[in-house]
Symmetry: C2
Subunit: 263 residues, 2 copies
């Protein structure tokens, strides 16, 4: 069967389309997107391998196609701090690329086998110089990220561990498109705990309290039992308020009619 040759031959049409729809490319022409994507190389990484380690030069920018990547730092004392856990569609290093002459402050470890699109950092910098839309998209992505970081550190000082976990589970649904009424955790609990800056024992101890507040967790299966109660337990104690994408998503799930009504 004859199929039109794409300009990004190493990607399946489906993968190409899902990448084209990333926020990074908002408002760009398909031809521009593909020109950009054409500069990438598709690489496979096995579980346990590193994309880069602390002290490496920042050489690339990545888009995750599949798999799970954990970013973490280490202190000289030996503590590991997980700064992020990334999956399909997430980008890596879009921030560092714009700080010149610096080294990677963190490690990027593939927690699961992963496939990534890899772009030369210099090339991203040049593209930004040439393409205004791309540069505004990155500005917007960076500012959102940085806002979310602020919210998270607010939570660290105003919320209990259980509330933090509840908030995270909501975000998980929002970002990864899981159905809050029932989904499986995409990676293990100790990883989540470290991502949230707590010990796995502490994480474990939050589970009974979550059950009391509308979230049931059995093994890796999570299901939101009572949306209002969860909202009251977490979101009503957060300054993010109505601006929170995860909160909106939860509301739309509980009351899909409001979506249709807007149409």
């Amino acid at each position: 069967m004859l199929q039109k040759q794409t300009s990004v031959p190493f990607l399946s049409n489906q993968n190409r389309d899902s990448i084209r729809s990333l926020p990074l490319f908002d408002g760009m022409l398909d031809s521009e997107k593909d020109e950009f994507l054409g500069k990438a190389r598709l690489k496979n990484h096995v579980r346990g391998s590193y994309l880069f380690t602390q002290g490496d030069n920042v050489k690339s920018f990545y888009i995750i196609q599949s798999g799970v990547v954990r970013l973490f730092r280490t202190t000289p004392g030996g503590d590991e701090i997980t700064t992020d856990i990334l999956i399909k569609g997430d980008t890596i290093c879009e921030r560092k690329v714009f700080r010149y002459n610096t080294l990677h402050p963190d490690y990027a470890l593939c927690v699961e086998d992963a496939t990534l699109l890899e772009f030369p950092a210099t090339w991203l910098r040049e593209s930004v110089r040439k393409n205004t839309v791309l540069s505004l998209n990155i500005l917007s992505i960076l500012s959102l990220r940085s806002l979310l970081k602020d919210i998270e550190s607010e939570h660290q000082s105003t919320m209990s561990t259980a509330q933090i976990v509840a908030c995270f589970l909501q975000w998980m649904c929002s970002i990864h498109g899981f159905d809050p009424r029932g989904f499986e955790l995409p990676y293990n609990k100790s990883l989540i705990a470290s991502r949230l800056g707590m010990k796995q024992e502490t994480f474990s101890r939050t589970l009974p309290r979550l059950r009391e507040n509308g979230i049931d967790i059995q093994g890796t299966h999570v299901s939101f039992q009572n949306f209002n109660e969860v909202d009251k337990y977490t979101c009503e104690n957060c300054s993010f308020m109505d601006d929170c994408r995860a909160r909106k998503m939860m509301r739309d799930t509980i009351n899909p009619a409001s979506l249709a009504a807007n149409a």
Copy 2:
């Protein structure tokens, strides 16, 4: 006495020069800088007034000329979280300007009488579209800010309150150009405490421990007594390591010869 008319008439030459040298304008021509500055309005705010409050539209971008501005959020529970304290040369809202259709998540309160340059947000967005250098500068500023936030939240989970305070004092010197061998706190201790996410009582209790580790604080007067000890106490427990501007600055103060040697 005849003086050459500047293109930014409402600024004294001295003020204009100090603003021209902000990182925001790195690599731009003086004429470009002045064109940009020409769009600003100079405004005075008395102590206790707000630049904006939670829920306002994001209408402006600011550069502080003098005074102290405190940014903080409030949770529905009534907690106030100080997210930043800004003084001369600092910019406000350079992040929010690039998130469309959002409201201010926080309050900006003048803790001291303040003078600010105020730019329409739309105008900054347009300038970025036209001026590549400006857009790269903002990308670089945003990525640095976001990195510093990461470091701070790392500290929250790996350092004691005393270590956090010690680190903050180093940064204070670095950012504001204070001499670590002796300087005055530019605002009061309870503000610092809230900025660092701790209670003022806790802050107060760190002081004896700081003295043991090379930092003497009497009233508002701070003096670093033993640079090596401070470094060992804080920086050697931080993953930022050699990339830390504050740490570098401290080293150069203790050993200015190394600066000359590089020349």
